[in-house]
């Protein structure tokens, strides 16, 4: 679990968002690597997706404090994270449905 970071304490919000991004990117990349492989262990991918989604959710709630370009950059990154959050959630839902029906048929 990541420590609570307060953007007002010296660190600019862009850095804070970036650190959440980094963590989310790492987790979702792992999920994707498993998920993209047809023989991959989908249960494992589900766990990584969940971790990644949690990081994205934290990242998009960070209040952007910068101005001008700094604000724009942070905002753009956050927008992309919102988009990926939706897509990752959709993917996760699909995987969970597939896994659930597989369990039923086993």
């Amino acid at each position: 679990m990541s420590a609570k970071i307060n953007p007002s304490k010296g660190k600019d919000s862009c850095e804070v968002i970036k650190s959440y991004h980094k963590q989310a990117f790492e987790y979702i990349s792992k999920a994707l690597r498993i998920d993209e492989d047809d023989t991959g262990e989908k249960e494992e991918a589900v766990q990584w997706y969940k971790k990644g989604i949690a990081e994205l959710e934290r990242g998009i709630t960070v209040e952007i404090t910068g101005r001008g370009d700094q604000y724009e950059r942070a905002k753009r990154l956050q927008d992309k994270m919102v988009n990926n959050l939706t897509m990752a959630k959709d993917r996760l839902a699909l995987l969970e449905t597939t896994l659930a029906s597989k369990r039923r048929s086993d």
Binding site: C14, L32, E36, R73, K80, M87
Partner: protein, 62 residues
Amino acid sequence: STTTLTTPQNQVESLLHEMADEAGLDLNMELPQGQTGSVGASVASTEQDELSQRLAKLRDQV
């Protein structure tokens, strides 16, 4: 294969150029700032794009 033959070459190329232009534009907008972190934010942005593409690919696979 037939798909390669029937895919219009010029359309593929213009799409590639479009993508390159978009990426270039993004970089050019951020690089002259000369601030630390601007490159990092740009990398982060690119990484998020990569995730989007891979997620979209999986979504469209069905």
